[in-house]
Structure formats: structure tokens, C-alpha cells
Amino acid sequence: MTSTSTALADAKDRGRQARKHRSLPYLPYLLPSVVLFACVIALPFCMNVFTSFNDWSGVGPMKWAGLANYRRLMHDSEFWASIWHSAALVAAMAVLPTIIGLVLAAALFDVIAKRFGPRVASILRACIYLPQVLPIVVAAIVWGWILDPQYGALNALLRAAGLGFLAHDFLGDPKTALLTVMAILVWFQLGYPVVIFMAALQRVDPALAEAAEIDGASWRQRLWRVTVPQIRPEIYVVLLTCTVASLRAFAWIYALTSGGPGTATQVPSYYSYISFFTNLDVGYGSAIATVLTLIIIVVAAVFLGAQRRHQAMAD
């Protein structure tokens, strides 16, 4: 018994040492990334967290403020409004594009490609993806022109079509500003899930869908019961990356609305920027940035955890 235990312990030890030796040669290759991560992300983040506990204008001595900036944050209606707006942007940049993208990708792959050929499907896919290659600020400025209440193409089109009663100051009215931004973001983001899902559909075994079809499953049932479970890893990746992107959304707000009218489209990233650079309230801006980072980390952890659980169940 003792000799068996000793043998097992020796074997475990050898295994551990072997793993250690196997991993060591890779360390130098990790170094550049570790150094970059430390300098570009970890160090500035730590400095940001430290700054958030101070009252500071950006230059000169910092004044220790403890949790004052966070207490202020808790009672700041503009900050909470910005969090809700961020949630709306998650819907616009992650949830809606994922759902619509899934349907579109399946339609392009299953219907368009089969009826009109893969070339037509590719062209349509490229058209849907096109907004993704546009610089955000350029796209935002063009949308600003289109939606201009006085000279904009959209209102002109509505008036020309006899639908003048629908003409509106879409970005200037607090009731429609956020919805308008959301609609633009859906247009912008849609191409990304479509491309990812179409690539994912290539690796799904067609025999599964054919078998389901023979069994009498409709297209919707095949999509939901057969295809979606097969491409779940891609769905997680799309949801995670789009959610993180939506929480960080800055350029669209900066170029389209500046957070207005009033604070109708304010989001945490823009609010943090304004606090840093315009209001010179660097401590408060840091507190907003820190909370935003924590939210992103939590969201990412939840997604990755869910993905791991599903993966474990599938295995």
C-alpha cells in the first residue's frame, strides 16, 4: 500500500515537473505581451483606480478624497441615466444584431445561396458588412447630415413621399434621440454577426439539418433546434465582443449627439471623457472609468462562465 502510494506520489511529482518543464520554454514568447499588458493596461488601470480616490484637476498635487467620488457617483442622476442608456446600447449593438444577424445569416446560407447561388449571397453579405469598414466618425457625421432636421435627406424624403407628418428632429428630441442612435448602431453592427455566423454555418454538418428536414422540421425549427446549438460558441463570442463594444461606445455619441439633447444620450464613457478633459474633474472621471471597467469585467466573466458551462454540458 505504502509503496503504491509512494509510486503514485512520484508519478504525480514527475507529471508536475514535466508540465513545468514543458511550459517554461514558452515563457519568453509570452513576455512581450505581458510587458505590453502591464504597461498599456494594468499600470494605467491601477493609476486610474488610485486617481479615482483623489480630487484632482489633472495637473498639480492630488488631494486625497477617499470614497467621495464614488459616493457622488451613487447620487449622480446623470451617471445612472448614462448606465441605462448603456443598457439600451447593449440591446442595439449586441442583442438585436445577434438575433437579426442569426436570421439573416441562416437566410443567406440556406435560402439565398441555394436559390440564387453563393455569389449573390456573398455580395449581400458584403453589403451588410460594409458599415463595419467605415470609420465610425465618418459614418456618424454622414448620419448627422441625413438626420439634419432642416436640410437632412431623411426628412426631405419623407416630405417628398407625402409623409411630412413623420418628419422630425430625430436627434434633437429627447424622446427619439436614443432610439435613433440605437437604430444607427443596429445598422452599423449587423454585418459583424452575419459574417461570423455565416462562417460558423459552414462547419455545421448538413446531414443534421437534412435529417431534421426529413423528419418534418420547419426551417424555423431547424434553425432553432439544430443550427443554433451547433454554432453556440460563435454566438457567445459575438455577444461578448458586441456587449463589451457597446459598453465602451464613445465615438458614435461624441460625433452624433455629444450626449444630448440634455443628457438624453449620455453614456458612461462619454461622461468620463467630459469629466476628464472638459470639466477637469479627473478624480471623478477616473471613478466613472473604474466603475465602467468593473462592469465590463463582470459582464465578460458572466459570458465566459456561461460559455464554459454550456461547453462542459455539451462535452
Partner: protein, 436 residues
Amino acid sequence: MRRTRSTALLMAALAAATAGLAACGSSGGSSGGSSASGSKVLKIWWYESPGSAYQIAWDQAVTDFKRQHPGVTVQFSLKSFNQMQQNASMILNSSDVPDVMEYNKGDATTGLLSKQGLLTDLTAQATKYGWDKKLSPDLQVTARYSPKGVMGSGDWYGVSDYAEYLTVYYNKTMFAKYHIAVPTTFAQFTAAMADFVKDGVTPLANAGNDYMAMQYLYELELGKATPQDVQNYQRYTGPVNFHDAAWTGAAATFQSWVKQGYIAKDSVGLTATQAGNDFQTGKNPMMVSGSWWAGTFQSAIKNFQWGSFLWPGNTLNAGSGGNLFVVPKNAADKQLAYEFINDTLQPDVEAKLADNGAVPISASTSGVTNPQGMQLIQNFQTLANSNGLAYYPDWPTPSFYNTLLAQTQDLMNGASADQVLGTLQSTYDQYVNSLG
């Protein structure tokens, strides 16, 4: 052992990278002073756009400076307003700074930099070169800052060679077409706007997503404010009540103007450039904005006659000395910087300002060839003679520009005036209390 070596390697790489970053941060230390060849260099930064009156005039100052200093190389860099507004503190805290640069006047800008010790005290130079005689007391307000960074008293930290103020630009052709007289009282002003509305014309160009809407609000407030109210608001010399008659009246009138169509409701998302275009294209017959627009209108408006008049009925009017030339604390050759600043105040440079649509500090009309420029300077003389300059609404706190912008947008969209003024009050009080 390997682990130790790996850790050591990691630490070494980190140290090297950090040192590299630090080196990047402090590189470029040879700011101005002398070039590699040993000759002297004057580094100048400003952010006025090419073709503007200021750029034309300051180019003249550079020419004059070069003539007086043949051995000095002038290195000029054109910056953007945002670049300077957002990064000035960080730039001036480094060693790579210009010798002289344009910067915004006011507590939240030059005042803040002076408080942080990033600017050179120019008091001795102001006396030596006679700048304290050239700038009237009203214009000196934005040049001098207390140790707390509050304008109006204390040492000199900047010098401006021009003035600016809000004025009403009007389309003479449209006024004639609709048989509307140029108003001289506030009642006539509102009557003229009502007449334009009856004719289906929105009288005032506006930009809710820029500085214009807040300037309308401020002009309305100044109509009922006293000089002491202005001092209290701008220099924290006494309590400020945003629920007094002046502010509540201004908010109510502004909202009613939007309701009555004097200001287009759908201008809430527009920028100042768009509002300027609306005036230039004859969409709106009037635009209330800064004298800095005059040069643009002078060159851009060809198809109608235009002029300007002071906001009717106000003794107090938004305005001040212009942007300042400041000398960073770390400037390499301060003496050259002082001499350049002095050149910007000479008659030939002032004449260039006046003739290209700006208001020189001397407010002299000699040599001005265009009638609009003449009118602009004469109106400024009227204001200056009555000590009517009341600065700008967003100056009191660094965050007030954004606060006023958002709150005037809310006013245009029908928010409660009481709530809007309450937000202004709390933001203002929070900052003033933080000053101690």
C-alpha cells in the same frame, strides 16, 4: 533557478519598457531656446484658423519680429482649439513647450493654469512694455488672475491684442424686404421678431448643441442683471441666485421665444457652424453671436447686405478681451516671447485686425475700409465706454459649458425652467464651494 531567471527577465523587460515610456514622456526637451546650429529659436503656437483676422494680424507680428531679430528662427505650429483646451495642462507640465502660445481666457482655462504654476507671471513685463496702459481696465480683467486663479485681480498671466463681444448680425436685405426697422429697444426687438414670424420667417439663427443657445439665455439675463450680479457670478464676490428675477425671467423668455417660433425648436441639435450657415444663406435674418464671426461673414456673404447692432436695451453685454498670449513656465526663451507679445500690440498689427473684421484693443477705426468692420468697432466703443462687458456665461466653472449646453437644450425641449435653474445652481455652488 529557471523560474528565478524568468522572473528576473520579466522584471528587466518591464523596467526597460517603463524606462522607455518615461524617456518618451520626457524626450524632446530641447524646447525652443536654440537650435542644433546654435541660432536662437522662438516657438509660437496658436489655434486661429488660416484666413481669420487673427491669423492675418499675427502673421504681421511674426514678420515684424523677424525683421527686428534677424538671427532668430521662428517656429510656428498651428494647433486646434480642442487640442489646446483638452491637453494644455499636460503639455505645459512637460518640458516640450512653446515659448509663447495662444490660450483661452477665463478662470477655467488661463486661471487654472496660472493657479497650477504653469504660466509665467508677466506683471513686470506689463509695466516695462506699457501693456498695462494699452489694455483698458475692462480688458485687463481677463489678463490678470489671483493666486486662486480667479480673473480680475492679481498678476498678469496673459495679454490679448483684441477684444470680442456678442452682437446681433442682421440681414439688411431681408429687413428691407419685410419692411422691418432695425430695433433699438428690447420691445422693438421682440416686435421685429414677431413680424418676421408672421411672414413665415424664423428670425434668429441658433445652435442648441453649441455655445449659441446659452448666449441667448445670458443676454436675456443681462437685460435685468446689475454689474454687481455679473461680478458675483463671474468672480464669486457674492452669492448667486439662479432663481432671482433676472435668471427666471431669462429662462421664461427664452422658452417663450422657442414656443413663439423666434428660435426654431429643431435647432436644438445644431452646431454653431450650422447656425452660421443658416444666417449666411438667408434662412434666418438675425444671428446673435460673437464678433469673431464678422471676418467670416465679410468674406463669405456676397448676395445680401448685412450689418450688426448691439443687443437692444442692454447696458451689459457678453464680451471681454480676446484670447491671450501666455508664456509657459518652462519656456526656453522668455525674453523673445515677451518681445513677440509686444509686437502683437503694435499699430500695424492692430490695423490688420481692424481691417479684417476683428476688434483691436485700441478700438481704433483708423484705416478700416469696410463699413461692417467700422460698425463692429464703434459698437465695441459704446460698450467699453459704458463698462458694459459682462464676459461669457460658461466661464465661472470648468463644467459650466457642458451644463449650460445640456440645460438650454432641455429648456428648448420644454423642461421646467425651475428644474433647469436648479441644476445650474447646484453645479455652480458645488464648484464655488470646492474653491474653499
